[in-house]
Amino acid sequence: MLNTDSECVQRCLDGHPEAFEQLVARYHAPLIGFICGRLRDREAAEEVAQEAFVRSYAALASLRKPESYYAWLFGFADRVAKEHLSEKVRAKHGVVIAQKETRREEPSHDFDLDQAIANLPAPYREVVLLRYYSEMSCVEVAERLDVPLGTVTKRLSRAHEMLRKSLRTVDEPLEHREARP
């Protein structure tokens, strides 16, 4: 049976760590998508996502609004992604990672899309990831975020507009972009 985020968090705190798996199953795809948009590296994104989940679990008792686990988790992911990008952390762990000359971009992965989503303002990003990456319906997203359905559809509409705009910039060849006034 699927529990709400709050229920899952509460069960973990009550000594049932297996409840955490529901949260991971629910949010790993949006999280990986979000981090892919930041790092443009699928493998690294999975590592960062894993680390974000583990850290969020360790800090679960300090989560003040269990119903906002999702937004809170993204805060961890944001920090871990930043750490990942910083050489300082690599040195701290004693791992010397050779500088990649070019970023690894698997053709099968739509990094431009992930990046466009990652760059959306948080309220818009949230609905897009929940709807399309967590496979929730608009009604479920509204329930999850505790907002009216109309708010979700308005945000989704606006998010579509913003995404199309930023993706158009990415997808269009350079000369077209320059020709634009």
């Binding site: 998508g33 679990y57 399309y132 989704l156």
Partner: protein, 446 residues
């Protein structure tokens, strides 16, 4: 409905969340407006792209992988208590808050269940089996292509041990890839030890009393119970200072790190990794400080605790043509008695050549690592040697190869060969029989 109103509803239309009335108006407008139909196509294309993105972002096995890394045993109760306190709606005066903070601090300090060595000593009581590795620093090597490579560690030994209910050692197998005798495997069980000299192609069954002492020595090198007891004792005698390295909250899945700085022996530093869940030691690394720098000197790794070990591990299967010597039924070498090392070595050399001159191959074999008489005779038949007379048995010199032990005894023997009578020099290598310091034998140089 105009185009602007219609376009606002297109995403909702695709998501199927419009009210019936709105849906009808949108459909009606789309029918007559090619621009809005194009807009709908564009939105639908992005929506498909988003759904595909969501599918791609899913990682099979990811939730399970995360679950394997979270500290399942984490006890949130203490953290919750602390947080409840922080969030308490009552407002304290600054002075009250300070007092409460001190009291809570002391409470948490004394109530905190920190790791202690005793936790590992207790966990060690329940060890039923163990797989371990002993490693030492590697060295520079030249590979087949003439390229210099550096091996980080070199395996000293790998072993498996099984314990009884009272923690007594029941069965043991240790493989030594590099010894002065070449590769060697020792299996000890039911009070009987079998040693397979892989490179020397020999198998020896070693009698009990001497082996017990040897197993005791071996245990010192691999047994985590003894290692932790030794550490505990040294700590109580203030011969070692142990510090536990703190790790951040989110790294609770990492092992506990104990750093043991010894004062006796000075300059010895050990780093212990202790499993946070089981309190069992995973690894012990040793370092020595030499002139300001620290050198890695060795590592013990404990791979599997309490896993069933197949019986085949404790059975040796050497090839059939191997030389087998059962020291439990056959006496090897000569008894040392009250003689000095040099005296017994000379006596062994003397009696060995006397036996060869008398063609007593059984006696010669007994002195020569317990090789059976017929085998000894067969070996000599391949040569054209006939032993005639001992010319001299010289003063023994210490064995020149480190780690081998025993002495070399220079001898001269007159013998008949294909080229006629000659006096031939030998440098017999003689030492105590494996695990029997009271008996001496020849182990080479002939």
């Amino acid at each position: 409905m105009n185009c602007r109103e219609c376009r606002k509803l297109l995403v909702s239309h695709l998501e199927g969340v419009l009210f019936q009335q709105e849906e009808a108006l949108v459909a009606q407008h789309l029918d007559g407006c090619p621009e809005c139909r194009n807009e709908l196509k564009a939105i639908a294309a992005l929506r498909d792209r988003l759904l595909r993105g969501g599918q791609r972002a899913k990682a099979a096995g990811f939730p399970a992988s995360v679950m394997s890394k979270i500290p399942l045993e984490k006890d949130f109760r203490k953290a919750k208590e602390k947080n409840m306190f922080q969030r308490h709606p009552l407002r304290f005066s600054m002075a009250t808050a300070a007092v409460v903070a001190v009291v809570v601090g002391l409470f948490l300090m004394f109530n905190k269940r920190a790791y202690a060595l005793d936790d590992t000593l207790k966990a060690n009581e329940h060890i039923t089996s163990l797989h371990f590795l002993n490693e030492m620093p590697g060295s520079l090597k030249v590979d087949a292509n003439g390229k210099l490579t550096y091996e980080m560690v070199r395996s000293l030994s790998e072993g498996w041990a099984e314990y009884g209910e009272k923690g007594e050692l029941l069965r043991l197998r240790i493989e030594f890839p590099f010894t002065e005798d070449g590769a060697k495997v020792v299996v000890w069980q039911e009070g009987k030890a079998t040693v397979w000299f892989k490179d020397k192609k020999g198998l020896a069954v070693v009698p009990q009393p001497s082996m017990e002492r040897k197993v005791g020595e071996l245990r010192q090198s691999f047994d985590p119970k003894l290692a932790m007891e030794r550490l505990k004792e040294a700590e109580s005698k203030k011969k070692v200072q142990i510090t536990t390295q703190e790790v951040p909250e989110w790294e609770q899945m990492l092992p506990i790190v104990l750093i043991a700085q010894w004062s006796e022996p000075a300059d010895l530093r050990e780093v212990y990794l202790v499993d946070r869940k089981t309190n069992l030691v995973q690894q012990i690394e040793t370092f020595t400080a030499k002139g300001g720098s620290t050198a890695f000197t060795g590592r013990k790794r404990f791979l599997d605790y309490n896993q069933p070990i197949p019986a085949s591990v404790f059975t040796l299967n050497p090839p059939g043509d191997i030389l087998r010597v059962d020291e439990t039924t056959q006496k090897i070498g000569l008894e040392k008695g009250t003689l000095s090392d040099n005296e017994i070595a000379q006596k062994v050399a003397q009696e060995f050549f006397e036996a060869l001159i008398a063609k007593d191959y059984t006696k010669a074999g007994q002195l020569y690592s317990g090789v059976p008489g017929p085998k000894m005779e067969e070996m000599l038949a391949k040569t054209d040697w006939r032993f005639l007379r001992i010319v001299s048995v010289g003063q023994p010199v210490p064995m020149e190869i480190p780690g081998v032990g025993g002495v070399r005894v220079p001898c001269e023997v007159e013998m008949e060969t294909g080229e006629g009578k000659i006096v031939r020099p030998f440098k017999l290598a003689i030492r105590a029989v494996y695990n029997q310091p009271d008996r001496w034998e020849i182990h080479g140089g002939f």
